[in-house]
Symmetry: C2
Subunit: 412 residues, 2 copies
């Protein structure tokens, strides 16, 4: 008998029929003897509609009120899910964020879970009750609703799993797991059975949008095994049909490279012909950090005329305008020319096996060179190598690398 | 400077533009120096959609979960209204039922307000803040959301006005007041400037659906002046453009008859040929009361063959099937024939002046007789006379009575 947190995303609770299908899966887990906590998203489209109402009323709305508006979507699904469970004979009730309570800080719109009061939930679970929780929301110490940011229902699920010391957190979604590459790009992409938290962190931040990155962070810190699986297939989480995100130690067969990710969320900014003096990078990047702009990849070159240096870096596309403004206001860079480009893609190979294998990077560079793809910027961590390339080569690069690292599925 | 509770119904917050229009009215009250508490309904259509989801999932759903689902509609409007007020420069925040808290009993789906914690709200109002409250909901002592029944936002508004000792409760709706008759039936119907709580109770229960009857009850008990007015006209509550529901003592000019109401919510049931013995009525009506079926009008006749008696009474149409079942199961009435009719309308004349005037009833009967309208059942109270007639005569009856009691507007 296990304690499972099962989270159903927007497409998995799209309408009342999908809610009933999700309830049927939960019932099968309960019949198999498991204790279940269900976390639900808003029905598909509802959150966008509510956000649309907010946008229509104000361009700079009060995020505390935004949270009141958008959290209503998950609340409705929670009540409906409890009803659907009762309808199939499962004892269930909804528990809203403020009822449990799930305590968050007061960063409305993107709050962080501080702690979860688990005592009463344990009592209810022990009494055979299924706990239904609306995702994405908690309550601040001022007793106001705070939401956890888009995709925050994953975080609710993992935070609950951690607080309850659950055996597993199942994330039901519209794909049946994490793949070695986006199957829409690489036909031969394979589902990965197990992936480490560290790899999943890289994959989540690099464009494999199956899990909110914050939820992987919590799962890693609290060592909660998380499974990504499909709510559209005829199986339940306890049969482990999806991809299990778990501790590196629990993964027997370590692949050098687990997957190839592709992200189009970056913009490239180049500051041309700046005087090559010590402390230059700090003078550029400290003000950007102060403005809460995340810098991802950085490369510094001698400039073409040899008189100074060029500095190239990437920021997320949504923040590029703001980054240019910040730089434009810096005394040090007032004479520098700025180039910016949105037509770039970041291609990354990720794998915990990389730590102990040489030649991963050189194979990447050779493969791309062979296809005539120019690398604009490179960044590396212990378990990933990312390169920035012209966006139009993105799919070609992903397919070539997927083949080169031997990830492609054998023809049956 | 007055303290006003302003409630905006579903059509008055139908979309974000209507919410902005409502916010503009509140702003005008604030600029005029008044303290304002705003109560909002769900945006039109939202509650029906949410109830539809519940119905799709279960025929006999858990009302506690129903409350979680449907209360989300008003919650969203409250956040949007607070945003809209801030947008026009008014300091405002939303206060959900559980945040205030508005305590209710645990009759989920049709809970009653027990009390409202007003201290913090007074502090905020004194500090110049507008309080925005989602109507229709409170919290039980088990810390669960409870809703007050359809139209419950009126009750929230009046209960808040009572708890805060407000000077007035303005109910903004899609009509500009209470009329002497339904203007869709009687062209010459006049808006009533002032009406007593007692009359409004009768009118609310008799088919003039501008106020939830429970809200009038609370207003009467707590002596809260309530104004019904239009959110679609260019005026604000403080100019008293609508109908004021207030104490009889505050109404100078008392009309004998204030209005003519028409209701099509009743079904007539006749139990034929029952033995004429003492205690018969009790044997029939006690089991019905036990089944929570409200009996409205009752008449008992000698039956046509003179051997027994016929008993005729009305129940609300929604409960007629259940009433027939209850009677069918009674030993005493197992041989009785049952007749039931839905094609009836209840026509009522209402007025506090009736108490001291004779001839009101005889004028009603004479007027209907003159038009050849047969009266099936009669019931009276101190301030109203109701008759049941064939439904097809309903409009004719209302128009004739409206004229007979001198309520019709003079041609300009």
């Amino acid at each position: 008998m296990a304690l499972i947190v099962a989270k159903f995303g927007g497409t998995s609770v799209a309408d009342t029929e999908r809610i009933e299908a999700a309830a049927a899966k939960v019932m099968r887990e309960v019949k198999a003897g498991h204790k279940v906590v269900v976390v639900v998203s808003a029905m598909s489209g509802v959150t966008n509609q509510l956000v649309g109402h907010c946008d229509a009323i104000s361009k700079v709305y009060d995020l505390r009120e935004y949270d009141v508006v958008v959290s209503s979507g998950e609340q409705a699904t929670a009540g409906l899910m409890a009803m659907a469970l009762q309808e199939v004979g499962v004892q269930a009730r909804s528990w809203l964020g403020w009822q449990i309570p799930i305590h968050t800080n007061d960063m409305h719109g993107k709050a962080r879970v501080i702690d979860v009061d688990a005592d009463e939930l344990h009592k209810r679970l022990d009494a055979g009750e299924v706990i239904v929780v609306p995702g994405f929301q908690g309550v601040t110490k001022e007793n106001r609703i705070a939401t956890l940011g888009r995709g925050g229902s994953d975080t609710t699920a993992v935070a609950l799993a951690a607080a309850l010391a659950a055996d597993r957190c199942d994330i039901y979604t519209d794909v049946n797991g994490v793949y070695t590459a986006d199957p829409r790009i690489v036909e031969k992409a394979q589902k990965i059975d197990k992936v480490s938290y560290e790899e999943m962190m890289e994959l989540a931040s690099l464009g494999t949008k199956v899990l909110q990155i914050r939820s992987v962070e919590i799962a890693m810190n609290k060592e909660v095994p998380v499974q990504v699986l499909s709510s559209f297939e005829d199986t339940i989480g306890s049969n482990l049909p999806g991809t299990l995100v778990t501790r590196e130690e629990d993964i027997m067969e370590k692949q050098t490279v687990s997957g190839v990710a592709c992200s189009r969320d970056d913009a490239k900014i180049t500051v041309l012909d700046v005087p090559d003096r010590p402390g230059l990078a700090a003078k550029l990047f400290t003000p950007l950090a102060d403005a809460a702009i995340n810098i991802d990849m950085i490369v510094q070159n001698v400039s073409s005329d040899g008189q100074g240096t060029d500095m190239t870096f990437t920021v997320s596309r949504g923040e590029s305008t703001r980054a240019l403004e910040v730089i434009g206001n810096l005394e040090e860079f007032k004479d520098a020319s700025l180039l910016t480009a949105d037509n770039v893609a970041k291609i990354s190979v990720v794998g915990i096996g990389m730590v102990s294998h040489h030649g991963v990077a050189s194979k990447m560079f050779a493969t791309l060179a062979e296809k005539g793809i120019n690398i604009q910027v490179i960044s590396t961590s212990e378990i990933k190598i990312s390169v920035l390339v012209d966006e139009e080569y993105a799919e070609l690069a992903v397919r070539a690398l997927h083949e080169a690292y031997g990830l492609s599925q054998e023809a049956a």
